[in-house]
Amino acid sequence: MEWTFIDTWIVVTAMLSAMSCALLGNYLVLRRMSMMGDAISHAVLPGLAIAFILTGSRESLPMLLGATIVGVLTTFLVQAVVKLSGLDKGASMGVIFTTLFALGLILIRQAADHVDLDPGCVLYGAIELTPLDVIPLFGMEIPQAAVTNAAMLAVNLAFVLVFYKELKITSFDPALATTIGINASVMHYILMTLVAATAIASFESVGSILVIAMLIIPGAAAHLLTDRLWLLLVLSLVIAAMCAVLGHVSAITVPVWFGFRDTSTAGMMAVAAGGIFLAAFLFAPRYGLVSRMIRQGALALKIVKDDVMGLLYRFEEVAPDDAGALGIEELKDALEGGASVRLAVWDLLRTKRIRRRAGGFALTDTGLGESAGIIRSHRLWESYLCGKMRYCMASVHASAHRLEHVTDPAMQAELDRAVGHPVRDPHDKKIPD
């Protein structure tokens, strides 16, 4: 890998454009309008083409203007179709953006004879070439694209900071926003205008279709990592910046590992974003799939362990002194489990709560104390359910069985007080201390 100042500029430009997209994208994700970002990024094509045909040149300002107008028009048209025809929002978006995109393709084809305009570069950009187009600024030569994207990022940042409260309220509760005097639809249209403008500012770096990756994915991944809005914004910016770095580095290294040449940075940025999202989807501390599975597994194991100890306690309670010990097979049969029981027994042995005895298991002193606590909760619950709530059916055992796992000492004391410090439960079993 050879890294030059050009690579640095590519990464900086990509970073700025990804961050300006991600900042607004957070609000699209929160407002469940992600696909509106998709629709706008497709639909700006005719805006670009019309700006070309009208001005006959490729100046940035008319293009920005044309595309922004068409972008805002898209949201208007989608809402008009929803309101007038009763089609659902997804289908209306589908109708509008494909129509505008088709129109754009035709216009570009017509204009192509006169102006060099390739739909490909509009769709997936040409960030590799942006450092070649520089303008002098502060005595340095800075790529024009970096300047454009930095300006866009500054505008978006100013918008989000100034209207932080308004955006927050309109995103989470538009009705409340209206009652306290914030015009939700004005905020909506400002946001949509900025999304369209950002899509255009970014299209030369990541392309108009891949803009949607930068709009949605950082915000969506951050949404899995936090519940605080300000942290969401910061995290999405960090993720966007990571996408740019990872995207470019992998574009010039990964294909080489497989014996190919380098590939599109914009494409790899979207892939990097997808990879970061996948990681968040699986391993986010609170909402990640794997994390949730681990938490559920730990809870399930705790319940099986409680059950094993409870079973041993009850067995020792009633079994005559010369009876053998419960073995693993008996435990499995009684608890209707297989590997989970084995795992629970292994863990209980490891933590010295039970010990091996005469072909089976017996509680240690630690285990005896803990299981007495569980059984106490169980029998107090039975007393409470039957005595206080007149719920004395056979299923009272099952209910108490579920509740015993979630009863902490304070609740246990409260239960004891509520049922008047009983000594025996409704089945006439002794309640341990």
């Binding site: 469940r32 006959g56 040149s57 088709a102 070439l129 949404h223 940025m269 909402y287």
Partner: protein, 493 residues
């Protein structure tokens, strides 16, 4: 870096695209040449006839292929639309790109023809199934909503596709030029084999739509009911998505992956305006799709510079626009006319009742002939309701045309005997409903006027009979007393 730039120069298409992008941004002057006429010239009648009668071999293949594709997409799209999965097809079509690129790279590396259509389609189908599965996984196992899941899958798969295409175009072996036609579509390059493939797949998916009509209809309208009745909803859903995948991948070559979704969404959306019957909607949608394919590919065959995929989609959009306005079931014209008719009926009945009540309060005895003939000042009517002067005069005009109202002077009006009868009927309905609300629904007399005002316009004779039976104390052929005071007749003499 210079080495990399040189590498780029080696790969022609990439550089061309790149330079175009660059020149797009540069404030360029060299190209600001005047535009003579950006639009293609119109073809003669003979050419149109040639295309329409399919005399040209090439055109025949293309036109038949796209027509069948449009039909199949219209049929399958109907169910997708009703299942509210319209945009899922967008994610699904974008997800095909990495499949195409990988299939090309693998086939080229294995020494075969990189652009073998069957291989490319297999790759596309595999990845679109993978994309659909990813969407479902994200929806099911994360806190993100449907739309975010679609956007994430769509963009990351498309990005992967672009990255892999970048590798494919820079490979020494094989010629990847033309692979991008899968993004925008390139109908003109359709061969007989491709058309046959499209025809076969289209007919098969149409057949499935017809065979599974009842099952699909059931899961579209009430999936939970279907599940409770023991239908294999998951498997039926899977079949539906498989049909969508089939239509998408065979449509890639014709209209491109960005626009193929239009064929799945627009024809059924347009068909919805014409009927409330699902079976009819299915056929209309198929027909609209076929017509779009036919007209679109025909037009692009006639005019050199029109990309077929885009023209097909725009044709479908025109069909949608026309349907939205003229549709016989939900078209704007139809619903607008119905709304106007209802509003006029309501205004007519409101005015009749207002006239009756004014006359009623003018004298103790409403049925007195002198009162019937009394001239009512329009000013007084204007104050009774929140209608504008123009609305009131328009309604009066229509009542006069019906012969229910006499106009002696521009500032007054009077009921004719026919008008009196009609007004009595309206007021009687109103008061019957008021009596019902008071006696049966236990609503205070002061509050019943508003409720009755809403419903009196849609009470049919059968309902009136039921009300009469439920309220036996009401005299059969007379108007009951109002249970609440009526606003004093302002402007009364």
């Amino acid at each position: 870096m210079t080495a990399r730039i040189r590498r780029m120069q080696l790969s022609g298409p990439v550089l061309a695209a790149g330079m175009a992008a660059l020149s797009l941004i540069l404030p360029e002057t060299a190209h600001s040449a005047g535009l003579s006429s950006p639009f293609p010239s119109w073809p003669g009648w003979q050419e149109i006839l040639r295309v329409l009668t399919l005399q040209d071999y090439n055109t025949r293949v293309v036109v038949i292929g796209t027509t069948l594709l449009g039909m199949a997409a219209g049929l399958v799209g109907t169910f997708l639309l009703l299942r509210k999965r319209a945009l899922l097809s967008d994610a699904l079509s974008h997800a095909t790109l990495p499949g195409i690129a990988i299939a090309f790279i693998l086939m080229t590396l294995l020494g075969g023809d990189g652009k073998n259509l069957l291989g490319l389609i297999a790759g596309a189908a595999f990845f679109s199934v993978l994309g659909t599965a990813s969407v479902i996984l994200i929806q099911r196992y994360s806190r993100l909503k449907d739309d975010a899941a679609l956007g994430i899958v769509l963009s990351s798969y498309f990005g992967l596709g672009i990255a892999l295409l970048g590798i494919a175009t820079r490979m020494e072996a094989g010629n990847a030029a033309g692979l991008t036609s899968f993004i925008y579509g390139k109908t003109a390059s359709m061969l007989l084999m491709d058309a046959l493939l499209i025809a076969g797949a289209a007919l098969a998916s149409a057949l499935f739509c017809i065979l599974f009509f009842k099952e699909f209809a059931l899961i579209c309208f009430d999936g939970e009911y279907a599940a409770s009745q023991g239908w294999p909803v998951t498997r039926l859903d899977f079949l539906m998505m498989t049909l969508a995948v089939v239509v998408t991948v065979i449509g890639l070559q014709a209209v491109g992956l960005i626009l193929v979704v239009a064929l799945l969404i627009i024809p059924p959306s347009a068909a919805r305006f014409w009927t409330h019957n699902l079976r009819h909607m299915l056929w209309i949608s198929g027909a609209f799709g076929a017509v779009s394919g036919l007209v679109g590919s025909g037009m692009s065959a006639l005019m050199a510079n029109l990309p077929a995929g885009a023209v097909i989609v725009l044709t479908a959009s025109m069909v949608f626009l026309v349907s939205m306005i003229l549709g016989s079931a939900r078209g704007l014209l139809k619903t607008g006319l119905e709304r106007r008719r209802l509003q006029r009926k309501i205004a007519r009945e409101n005015l009749l009742r207002a006239l009756y009540e004014w006359i009623e309060s003018c004298s103790g005895d409403a049925d007195a002939a002198s009162c019937i003939l009394e001239e009512v000042p329009i000013e007084a009517m204007l104050a009774r309701r929140s209608w504008t002067s123009a609305e009131l005069r328009g309604t009066l005009h229509r009542l006069a045309a019906e012969g229910l109202v006499r106009r002696e002077s521009p500032e007054t009006c009077a009921l004719t005997p026919e008008g009196w009868t009609a007004a009595r009927r309206v007021v009687r309905n109103h008061r019957l409903w008021e009596a019902y609300l008071i006696t049966r629904a236990d609503i205070a007399p002061g509050q019943v006027d508003w409720g009755a005002d809403e419903i009196e316009h849609i009470l049919d004779p059968e309902m009136i009979q039921t009300l009469e039976k439920m309220l036996p104390e009401t005299p059969v052929d007379a108007v009951p007393e109002s249970p609440h005071p009526i606003a004093p007749p302002q402007g009364a003499v």
